[in-house]
Amino acid sequence: MTGHRRRTDGRVPVALLVPSVLGVAVLVLPMVGLLLRAPWRRLPDILSSDAVLTALRLSLTTATAATALSLVCGVPVAWLLARTRMPGRSLLRGVVTVPLVLPPVIGGIALLMVFGRRGVLGGWLDEALGVSLPFTTAGVVLAQAFVAMPFLIVSVEGALRTTDRRYDDVAATLGASAWTTFRRVTLPSVAPGVLAGAVLCWARALGEFGATVTFAGSFPGTTRTLPLQAYVAIGSGDTDTAIVLSLLMIAVSVAVLVAMRRRWVGA
């Protein structure tokens, strides 16, 4: 310790300390509550019950499918946003990121308006192709993709913006087409960004509730994913199952955060 006066002497003003303690409490207490009330002894039984396993299987499949759909469609969108100078690009960026801030229920209603039986495309899809999306597993995937794809787009666009476009120039002088360049040069160089976006997207899809329940309903085995199962359990008084499902999803979230930690928290 030298005689220099430090700018802060370690004391935190009460006006900052009290609200921050409250804030941390709001964030942490619910999870502590879950852990305290968890039926640890019944946990294996609940986890292996048919209803939970079915919901888990459905959640894993739909979230993975939604992530795949988001990759196939979202990476090209990110490329368009980052690499082209087409008019209306900033408008497009706004439009594709709206679901980030939109209440998911609204997304579900909007999906119904388009793909519902009397929706803009739904009627035609039903008559011409015999395809009906609402209240199906495919509908769950669509609802999840609607909510989760923006996470992927934002992440991949960010990665694309930081890569040097001179790589594309060099690839062109070597005779590569724009598609070859994208596939063999651009994509590998943004792979970490794509992976991060995909993990975020998958986690968001796994936790999706509002859009799913509105657009796809809650049918066991076809549309009742983990969050819906938890909601049904708590509504029917089966608190233990609700708690176990909540812990399961918290575990997934923590795993995602740990996986992504090196990318966002410390470098």
Partner: protein
């Protein structure tokens, strides 16, 4: 045969207007200060930037002809590019980087890799084929970039500041390697640089570009001996004056006269090395000496000599010993006489 280019690009702050011819197998160094338009010209030749006017023909094939609406995309030009920081594709191994051009042209993976392996051996990089670009030294990365560009047999090879990314210690070695590799290449080569040494060593001909214009071109020794602009004179370390000669005497600057060793007539450039300039407190005696009163502006260490920048009717750079600085009490603002023997002065038509 070779490259014949007439390129005009108007970018507001830069107006590039350059005629450039490069023979087959010839290595031309484009020398110029930063912002002179060298890299812009390189981009135009590579097909990455459309010229506003002009025509580019390579080995008799017209690549671009603005007047006739003709334009060839970068991928169909047969022009190789080695960028300043090499730009090896970070997601690919060294071998895949070199094989990239052949793969893009539709060769099978096996065939492309076999060919790439031969190139890596030629570049003494055989044991590095599985490495990622980030694991290479600057000199190795440059050789990989060179192999990647040359494997598709371009008719024109462009190198943008090929040694700028290297540290001073490895530069001489890599420069020598590059010179050897370029000697074996049969197409045309254009090297962009702002380093006169690089231009002198690598270029068989030097084209000096300033503010978008070619201001001088010629063999390295010609450029080094007879600079035509202040920029080139500074690069090659010569004093350059402009004057009008009438026999043995030329009038320069502010009514000063320079005595020449040979007869000359009309507008001339007059060049002499700073070491030939003698500074003295009094006007020196002797007929063959040119002498001008000067005022010291600046002193700067220059090897084991001191470079003195002096103003006067004839502004000069003089390299003197530290002892002379002490003896003459040279410091900014001190007045002295600068003199040069006529025999040290070279005068050539402007």
């Amino acid at each position: 045969m070779g490259l014949a280019a007439r390129v005009e690009v108007d970018r507001g702050e830069l107006r590039l207007q350059v005629d450039l011819e490069v023979g087959a197998g010839e290595v031309v160094a484009l020398l110029g200060p930063n912002g002179a338009g060298k890299s812009t010209l390189l981009d135009v030749l590579a097909g990455l930037l459309p010229p506003d006017a002009g025509r580019i023909a390579l080995d008799g094939t017209v690549l671009d002809d603005v007047a006739h609406g003709r334009r060839t995309a970068a991928r169909h030009r047969g022009v190789g590019l080695v960028a300043q920081d090499y730009l090896l594709f970070p997601g690919l191994t060294v071998l895949e980087n070199v094989a990239f051009g052949l793969r893009a042209r539709g060769e099978t993976r096996r065939c492309a890799r076999e060919h790439a392996r031969q190139w890596l051996h030629r570049m003494d990089l055989g044991e590095h084929e599985r490495r990622r670009p980030g694991e290479l030294s600057g000199g190795q990365a440059q050789r990989v970039a060179l192999a990647r560009a040359l494997i598709v047999e371009p008719r024109l090879l462009l190198l943008d500041e090929p040694l700028a990314a290297l540290d001073a210690g490895t530069r001489p070695i890599v420069r020598a390697q590059l010179r050897r590799h370029l000697a074996g290449y049969e197409g045309c080569t254009v090297i962009v640089t702002h380093d006169p040494l690089e231009a002198m060593v690598l270029g068989e001909r030097i084209v000096v570009v300033e503010r978008g214009q070619v201001v001088q071109q010629g063999a390295p020794d010609e450029v080094a001996r007879r600079p035509r602009t202040d920029y080139v004179a500074r690069l090659v370390g010569l004093n350059l004056l402009r004057g009008t000669a009438r026999g043995r005497v030329a009038e320069v600057g502010d009514r000063a006269e320079v005595t020449l060793a040979h007869d000359a007539h009309g507008p001339v450039h007059i060049a002499f090395p700073p070491v030939a300039v003698v500074l003295s407190p009094e006007r020196p005696q002797g007929s063959a000496r040119n002498a001008w009163p000067v005022t010291v502006r600046d002193l700067e260490a220059h090897g084991d000599l001191v470079r003195v920048t002096a103003d006067g009717p004839v502004p000069v750079l003089a390299d003197v010993t530290p002892l002379a600085v002490a003896d003459l009490g040279l410091a900014p603002g001190v007045r002295a006489w600068a003199s040069v023997k006529a025999g040290e002065i070279s005068a050539y038509p402007a």
